[in-house]
Symmetry: C2
Subunit: 546 residues, 2 copies
């Protein structure tokens, strides 16, 4: 027996209609790649979204077909979030920081029909175009005056193709499980794999983004979205901001400390989301300009994800800005909310040192994300904050597979997605990432976190960067090999480093072997490329451990 409630589908176009109806004059501010600042409002974004939908119709793009963007955060990209998905087509946000050959691979794999791009990426697009087999139309997201002179087929200018369309569009209703957007993960191995979001998954995730236990997005906020809109739906914030009519501020490509600081100040930003790298640049700007008063910015909350937050970063936001830091863990495959580091009332009276430990964990599970940690055989591990396990997650905004079945099914028999991360979970459900599953070192049946050893080594003043990989050991199966890049002009021996680590790590975690190198290999997005290191040190046999 069904309930007698209205059967309204959860679809993304309802967001922009709501924002335009209830918050028509709330501003959307964008710094442009071409320079200058653009101002519109939610009513304006809706008009543009309708124009995007009409333009796609004019180009013959049909529902379920993919439309790609190579774009910074800005009002045109925002309008495309609603305008493309609203027609039933699929918005494919492409990460311009990938290697060009990876971009060509994913655009071809997605069979994108149209490619929209910011002027910044015109040279890249010109270079890629000959390899893009399915793209029929290219649209530069600029006015006529900033159109680049590049040689690509069927090139259009936004102002001519989109801005000339009707400002009304009758959004279709369809099955909420329909695909809405597509984002490829840039793993360290194999080809990128596409996560295909649905309208339903996006809308449920958006509702959860409003909760004070996650990001607490509300109509009271001015949100500066620094995290790129080509990363996991810009953490879902463009949708959440529309659901409540928050003011949005986009830095475009201007992510240097000075630009971010000035935009925060000028637009009275209350909440901002970004990865640690961007915040480091902001700190450097403040260091270089000690007369600036970060507290006067009035920023209340900072959301950080994508990489672990350091204690220094946490305390600097708290003390220098007077802002609360909300850390989180998620992946492209989790939309991205996985866990969020919101403190419980029981933490209010913890001593500072204890409290910091809680804050530096990745966070606590929220409704909608079932968590488990399991051993190699799939047995559930206890939530005691000690036991390591493979992290698996389940819920309505978690991926069930990859576009075109790439990589096979990532789902176990209980319906959980295997994240590839190793984590601990404590009694309050706070998760702490320990390592990537493929990087963890399995020594005599116990697991050693390569990341913890790397962090300990990198904290030595003579060390610039450190990598730890597992090498074969006749007795312990694997032992850690520490590979170190020394700071220019600094000296430190393997024994000195081992003594230093001995004060910081369990005895059986200490790497017997230390290698010094000039540099370490990285991926396009700056991650350590451990696959290459493992290849390089394949024959290296750990002999010293007893």
């Amino acid at each position: 027996m069904h309930g007698l409630m209205q059967d309204r589908p959860l679809i993304i176009s309802s967001l922009i209609e709501h924002a335009a109806r209830f918050h028509p004059r709330t501003e959307i501010v964008s710094r442009l790649p071409e320079g200058g600042t653009h101002r519109t409002d939610w009513a304006g974004v809706r008009r543009t979204a309708c124009q995007v939908a009409n333009a796609l119709g004019a180009l013959g793009v049909k529902p379920t077909e993919r439309v790609a963007t190579l774009a910074w955060n800005g009002w045109r990209h925002l309008a495309m979030y609603f305008g493309v998905s609203g027609t039933g087509a699929v918005l494919h946000t492409v990460n311009p920081r990938l290697f060009p050959e990876q971009i060509a691979y994913i655009v071809n794999h997605a069979e994108d029909q149209v490619l929209f791009f910011d002027t910044t990426f015109a040279p890249l697009v010109e270079k890629l175009a000959p390899q893009l087999r399915t793209v029929k139309t290219y649209v530069c997201m600029s006015s006529r005056e900033h159109m680049p002179s590049i040689d690509v087929p069927d090139l259009h200018c936004w102002d001519e193709l989109v801005a000339t369309q009707s400002e009304d569009y009758d959004w279709p209703e369809f099955d909420e499980r329909s695909a809405s957007s597509l984002c490829y993960t840039s793993g360290t191995t194999g080809n990128p794999k596409g996560v295909l979001y649905s309208h339903r998954s996006t809308m449920l995730h958006t509702l959860m983004e409003l909760a004070p236990d996650t990001f607490g997005v509300s109509s009271r906020e001015t949100v500066m979205l620094i995290v790129p809109m080509f990363h996991a739906n810009g953490w879902g914030t463009p949708y959440a901001a529309a659901m409540v009519g928050a003011k949005l501020v986009f830095p475009g490509p201007h992510l240097d400390g000075k630009s971010v600081y000035e935009l925060m100040r000028d637009e009275k930003v209350t909440f901002s989301q970004g990865v640690p790298t961007v915040w480091m640049m902001l700190f450097q700007h403040l260091d270089a300009n000690p007369q600036l008063d970060a507290r006067a910015l009035g920023v209340k909350r900072i959301g950080i994800g994508g990489a672990a937050v350091s204690r220094g970063m946490l305390e600097r936001f708290e003390k220098q800005f007077g802002a609360e830091v909300t850390q989180g863990w998620g992946m492209t495959e989790t939309s991205p909310i996985g866990v969020i580091s919101k403190l419980l009332p029981k933490h209010d009276n913890l001593p500072e040192e204890e409290l910091v430990k809680v804050k530096l964990k990745q966070g606590r599970g929220v409704w909608g994300v079932d968590l488990k940690i399991v051993d190699d055989e799939g047995n559930k591990q206890p939530w005691d904050g000690e036991a390591f396990g493979h992290l698996r997650v389940r819920g309505p905004w978690i991926a069930s597979g990859y576009f075109r079945g790439e990589g096979g099914s990532p789902i176990d028999e209980e319906g959980y997605f295997s994240t590839g991360d190793v984590a601990t979970i404590d009694t309050d459900g706070f998760l702490q990432l320990v390592d990537r599953a493929k990087d963890v070192i399995k020594s005599g049946g116990e697991w050693i976190s390569s990341i913890d050893v790397e962090n300990a080594a990198a904290s030595h003043p003579a060390v610039t960067e450190a990598a730890v990989i597992g090498i074969v050991h006749p007795k312990w199966q694997e032992r850690p090999l520490l590979i170190v890049v020394r700071r220019a002009g600094a000296e430190v021996s393997a024994d000195e480093l081992r003594s230093y680590l001995a004060e910081r790590l369990a005895k059986w975690w200490l790497p017997e072997e230390v290698v010094f190198v000039d540099s370490l290999p990285h991926t396009a997005t700056g991650k350590l490329l451990k696959t290459k290191l493992r290849e390089q040190y394949k024959g290296y046999v750990a002999a010293k451990a007893e």
Copy 2:
């Protein structure tokens, strides 16, 4: 093409599993009908919910069958919210304040199989039992020592039937559109009609309850739920509290000012929800005990619905308690979130008199509730804060009809539910209720709000209560008739009252006719019974208006 996201149904049992997993030790505090205070926690509520589910199994209750409660707010009722719906059966929360014949009608109409009741209602249950055709089993929600001696068939004691069951239960998964709970509206005309919620509608409504733009329920809160759990799912708060693991405090039947005050103080309540009547009793307690310091309670937010908030009540909470008032409008048919009075940033600098006007509106639309106001012919009226219209609403937690098709379809051709209310909506989407559609007075093609005239009359010091109904007029079709109950010992003439009103209302709204009576008729739940007045004054012809 579907997205590739996990297809997890939105079902209510997921809430109690989440709360027990992530917030096992967060307290649930209940004042009991039998006296004393009971303390458990979310892990305990889960155990009890599992016992409820097992008890229903033992009684042979099958999915889709209805299980009724006649109960105050408390931990057992809370466990039933999850335990009954979690099995696939339907929780029917019965309003014990209805007339006994109405209760018998709805229990028979719902075909309830089991009736759970608090000790308070034992005499009522004994009186009703012979009329209840489908109830096979009665369960008193008490321990053995408080079991009443009443003569009803198959009477069980909670402690023996429920508390002895296994504390584990494997919640089934099923279609999220399955019915979860049932609540009858007590209209002023005809028989009560049943609203049949689904798991999906309840879960989407619960997600929206977390938004700071509605009630902002979070793990940081201690919520005292005064609004009865037999009214529209207790405004959804039992579900929202579970979704985030908030501490819940239940006053049980102890709703007098002293009890409410002491419970707020003892349990450090931060947020409480109730109807104006309860708050009036709290104010009276404070008036009688001027040594009490309401601000020291630390209550941060008060949610008010069910009836319009007066300026006096608003300002008293703001000034005496230092609390923010969140007003809302909704109905049993809207789960109940319809609109919520959350201010926008643009209101921050409004002068006090302007700001109060905004705050006293019922509130602003939220995503998920499409609003429209229409004239008698169904034409949309402008959102200018002036135009009156019939209020219609649409969304995933709005009813599409009533149980067993009673009353026909309340849905128009665009899928909107007709609320029976008349309202204005302003340019920011703030809704103000003007009248009930059947009470509004249609004078020469324009509409007069009976409520506004009543409120103006009731503000006269010599008036205790006032009612306004439409009476036939040869030229204007209808004119208002004002029916007044004078305060004991006070004197005021019809002309004096009309002069008083002339300073407060538009000239064409002034009632030409005034009648003085000793008392006015009311429904069981205290609403003015205007149908009876209209019957009584049926032949009354308005002669004076030109």
